[in-house]
Each structure stands twice: as C-alpha cells, then as structure tokens.
Symmetry: C2
Subunit: 360 residues, 2 copies
C-alpha cells in the first residue's frame, strides 16, 4: 500500500490470482512479526520466539487451496464491480480473506492433533514435526491471535470493526461446536452406529465446515461492500450452509475415493470412525447382514477391516449414490441462487463453480 | 438481574464474597447453554453436546482461587466507591471478572496438556479424564469462545465494547507469547542451562502470567469505572507487571516448597525442566561443580535426580533467598504505589494484600 494520495484512486490493474493474494499474506505476516511482543529481537530468546512464530505461520497458513480467503474479494467485486474498487478496498478484502485462512490454519492444526492425523497438504502435520509435538497446542492459539491482531491493525477505525470481530467470534464458536458434535458423535475408538444418521451428519457438517468455509467469506465481502440488510445476511447464510454441506459430502467422498497425491493427504475416515456421508448412506440402505459387516469393521486400524468397508461400499453402489447426490444438490443450489433477488447471483455462482466436481 | 425499573438504583446490600461471585458464574453459564448453537436439545446429539459443554465449564472454570476474577469489582469499587455502584455495575464487573476466569481456564487446560501435568486444583487435569483425552484441544477453544459470547451478550451496547474485546485479544496474545517463550526456552526433555538467565526468566513470566493475572483485571475495572487517560493505563501496566513477576516467583517457590495438599497439585517444575526462579537463582550463584550437579539432574523424571536438585537448593540457601526477595519486592511495590497519584492506592494494595506471603 502506498502512502501517496493516489493510493485511493480507481484501480484497474489488479489481477486476483494466487500470487497477488499471497503477497498480502507476506505483508500481514511481516507486520505480525514486528508486533510489540515479538519485535525486540535483541535477545536470543526473543529472536528464537520470533523465528518460531514465523515458521508456525509459514508452515500452516499459506499452503492451502486458498478458496475461502480469495472468495472475500470475489464477493466484494460481485457486489460493487471489480473496476470500482480502490487499492485500499482490494487490500482490505484480501486482509479479511487471510484472516479466514488464519482461522482455518488454527482449526486444522488443532484438528490434526485430535484426529491423530499424519499428513496435511502433502506434508507432515505441524504437531508431527519432531521439535513441535504438543507445543502445537499453543501454536494454534497464536494462529488465532493473528486474526484479531490483523483486524485491529487494519480495521480499528472502520465502522464495522466490532461487527467483524463479532463475526469471527461467532464463526469460531460455531466451528468448535461442530468439532464437539463430531468428536462426541464419533469418539475415536468406540463405535455407536445408531448415531450415524443423516440428521446428525448434517448438523455436524453445518457447524464444523459450512459456516467458516462459506458463510464467513461471503459475510466478510458483504460487510466490506457496505451491505447492512439483515435479510441479505440471512439469505446468504442459508445458501452458504447448503453449499457447505455439499462441500463436506465431497470431502468425505474424496477421503475414500480421491487420489492421495492430489488431495495431499491419506484419508483415514474409516479407521478414525468418522461420521462420514459414506457410512451414513451405507447404513441407511444396508441389510441387517451388511450392517453387521459395518459394525465389525468400521473404526478399526487394520487394513483388512478397511478393505471390508470399501468392498461393502462397492456392493452398495455408494460411489454412484454420491454422483447422484452431487447432481441434484447442484441443481437445487442453482435454483435457489437464481430465484433470490437480494444479492447479485455471482456472489454465489463464483463460489459454486470452484467446488463443483472438484478433485481436491 | 431484574428487568424492573429499580434494577439501576443504588445498591447497598451487595457483599463481594466467593458465594455471590459464583452466582454470577451460574447465570453466565446458563446463558451460554441456551446459546443458539447449543439450545436445540430436542435431538439426543445436541443434548449430549450441551451436557459436555456444561461439564467442560463446570470442571474447569469456577474451581480456582478466583482472585483474578473477583479483582475487577474490587478495582471498580476502589475507584468509584462501593456504595455508589448500581446492581448493573456490580453484575457487569463480575461478568468481566468471570471472563478473566474463563480466559484462565482456557489457558490452564492447554497448559496441562503441553506440560503433561497430572493434577490441577486437587483433581485430575481435564485432559486426563478417560473420556476426554485430546478432545480437550477443542474444549479449550470452546472455553475461549465463552469470553466473547459473554462480552457480546452484556457489553454489545457499551461504549467500550470494542476496547474490551481488544483488551482480551491483546492479553491472549501476550499470554500465548509467554507460553511460547516458556516452551522454547525450556523444551521438555532437553536442557540448555545457558538460557536460564534472570532476563529470560522475567520476560517469560511477564508475558505468561503478569498481563492476564494482574493487568487484565485492573484494566477491566478501570474501563468500567470510565477511566480513559492512557497514562493511567500505562501506570497500571507497569505496577501490574511488577506484581505479576512477584506472583510467579512465589508460584515457583510453592511448586518446590509448598504443601501439595494446600496448593492442590504436585509440583513438577524440576522434572519438567522449567525455567523456574529457583533454578535461575541457583545457577547465578553456583560454583562450577554445583553447576555440574544441576546439568546432570535438572529436567529428569527420576526421584534421585529431583532429590539431588532439592539438596543443592538447600546447600545454596535458595529458600532464604526467596524470602529476602519477597520482602524487598513488597517494599518496592509499596513505594511505587504510594508515590503515584493517578489512581486510588486501594486499586493496587487490595491486590497486593491477597498475594503477599500466600501459601497457595
Ligand atoms: Mg481431521
Ligand atoms: Mg476432526
Ligand atoms: Mg475429510
Ligand atoms: Mg503447567
Ligand atoms: Mg506450562
Ligand atoms: Mg508453577
């Protein structure tokens, strides 16, 4: 951001790609490193903490798909038109986008510890690094702190400053509530298949994924665009929740049928006893005999048990059922989006285009 | 709180004791249980999550000394006079006090996981409960969320709403920065005694304890009292940091010399290789030979190693050094407090009286 008076003029040259978005990450990260806490790098102790903090961020924040973070700009541009945005508006949209990526990094570091996961985004999980271990429990608190440090630095004087903090707090609460539902519905090492119903599944997914992945970026973009009508936010919430459910069902599908090279991790939902869309759907249509196979093999680490579940999925045609679901869910979302009149359709269609039939 | 018009009248009958303070906890906890996320207890899944959430709170939040939380009211009463406070002001002071207790609960649950601790406040650490384990990693996120849910419910319309959120965010960042300094200065299982200097020690302690334990309650009370002079907040910060250092040095002393029955936990600072005031002081005065004893035995789990360190502390007269430090630190604090004119002295002396020569 230039300090010159031209900084606020119309901006025609900005290209919203991964590279330009990532430049904003570097700016924000460097600002954080110069925070009062971290900056007195005169002592070796403070310098070591600063380096650790940099590594926590660089390892966990910028390496994802960035769909969530980049969506804030897309939403703002859909509402106000890309050509009418000032350099400052673009920067602010991307800063909020990175706050969402920081939120996600915070939850993923925690999730991997709780799930006992091995890899994430094609590299070892942060807590799996030999020097890290349980220090990761504090590192994800630090990742969360970055959100509010960024908000304070860049939105302190903004009319919606308190609203933005409320939005991130609310989303954090919803997401950790979803994690709680997930962890208590499907505790690692114990199986109670009676809990694996569609209702329970959808409730978990709505809280643990949909709000932060879809509603949060859309709401951030709407706030920046100056939208204040509560009905528009309610509408966005409903569409985003549906989209988020669709997204997580894809995620469950990819955990079993995706290419580990492409998705960047080895799926372990079966071993981890996850309340996945696949097992919920299987249970819904399985015979008593087939249910016994699930009971005997789901949530076990042994390769034979995993293979038995996968064979049953083939027998029940689960893959085709997913493809049928994907087509009908997409059609339903398209209908809702085109029928509403409160927001430009591009707000939602640009998001939907990115996730439909995704491979990772 | 009554909704009647008398709710705002002068309040003469309030007694600020543990019992009345704890009643406010129950009100706040019940409000949280009726949060949108948690309330639809019509499904067994949502009901189970609600019960879990209640237990996380009841197990971890209200059972401490409550000095930090109760101090907010004391500060407010020191500035405005206890007799002039309305029922609403008393409630708000105690609600902020509980936010501090929630903040502490959040950090303690995380700290016990990272330190591999066994007991806390005379009961097993939360993560040590068989049904909990690593789910505790999400539970402390939920505990943190409660802070902002309470702030939103009770301070949304308050002029200082954003300032209060900033204060809790800043304190969270400082505390987790202190945890990072602690964890990287003294990694569990590796010993680098060259790092155990007084400077390093004081920096850790300032960040991980002083800000949240002393500055945060004082600043909350000052905000409620309507104080806005930045010089008053800076002064409070300086005094509170000194007081917090004193408090943590006591904590280190009690870890080794306190009665486990009284302090409610078995100290493991020696085993955990903690950068404690005791070992920093020992290193400062030890001969080369004595340093070798420390090097060979500090940070080890074996009972003989712990005994060797404790014997060395006796040899070096560490206990007497602590008592000398306590007396001089107390005198210094009293001097600073009586010399300043920006705030009523009782703001600080009431805090100091609670910690001087404490046994737990
Ligand atoms: Mg996971
Ligand atoms: Mg998980
Ligand atoms: Mg998955
Ligand atoms: Mg500890
Ligand atoms: Mg610790
Ligand atoms: Mg201690």
């Amino acid at each position: 951001m230039s300090g010159e008076p031209t900084a606020k003029k119309m901006k025609v040259s900005y290209v919203h790609d991964r590279e330009n978005f990532t430049k904003v990450y570097e700016t924000l990260r460097d600002e954080l490193l110069n925070d009062e806490c971290l900056s007195p790098a005169d002592s070796p102790q403070a310098k070591a903490a600063q380096e650790w903090f940099k590594e926590v961020n660089d390892y966990n924040v910028p390496g994802g798909k960035l769909n969530r973070g980049m969506a804030v700009y897309d939403v703002l541009a859909s509402v106000k038109g890309a050509d009418g945005l000032s350099e400052e508006e673009v920067f602010k949209a991307n800063a909020l986008g990175w706050c969402i990526e920081w939120l996600q990094a915070f939850f993923l570091v925690a999730d991997d510890i709780m799930d006992g996961s091995i890899t994430r985004r094609g590299q070892p999980c942060w807590y799996k690094q030999p020097k890290v271990g349980m220090i990761a429990c504090n590192d994800y608190i630090l990742l969360e702190c970055c959100i509010y440090s960024i908000l304070k630095r860049h939105f302190r004087g903004h009319a919606a400053y308190a609203q933005l903090m409320d939005l991130f707090h609310e989303t954090t609460f919803q997401t950790s509530h979803g994690q709680l539902l997930d962890l208590t519905t499907a505790p690692i090492g114990s199986v109670d298949l009676s809990k694996y119903t569609e209702d329970n599944y959808l409730r978990i997914v709505t809280y643990k994924t949909a709000y932060y992945s879809f509603y949060l970026p859309v709401a951030c973009g709407m706030v920046l665009a100056g939208i204040t009508d509560p009905a528009a936010f309610d509408l966005a919430k409903n569409i985003c929740v549906e989209m988020g459910q669709y997204f997580q069902i894809q995620d469950d599908y990819l955990d079993c049928y995706g290419d580990p090279e492409v998705i960047g991790k080895i799926g372990t939902d079966i071993e981890d006893n996850k309340c996945s869309w696949l097992v919920c759907t299987a249970l819904k249509i399985a015979s008593e005999e087939q249910k016994e196979v699930i009971k005997a093999n789901y949530g076990r680490k042994e390769a034979e048990a995993v293979a038995a579940i996968k064979a049953l999925y083939v027998e029940l045609g689960i893959e085709q059922r997913f493809k049928d679901y994907e087509a009908s869910s997409y059609a339903k979302l398209e209908g809702t989006i085109s029928e509403q009149t409160l927001l430009p359709k591009a707000v939602f269609t640009s998001l939907l285009a990115k996730i439909y039939k995704r491979k990772k």
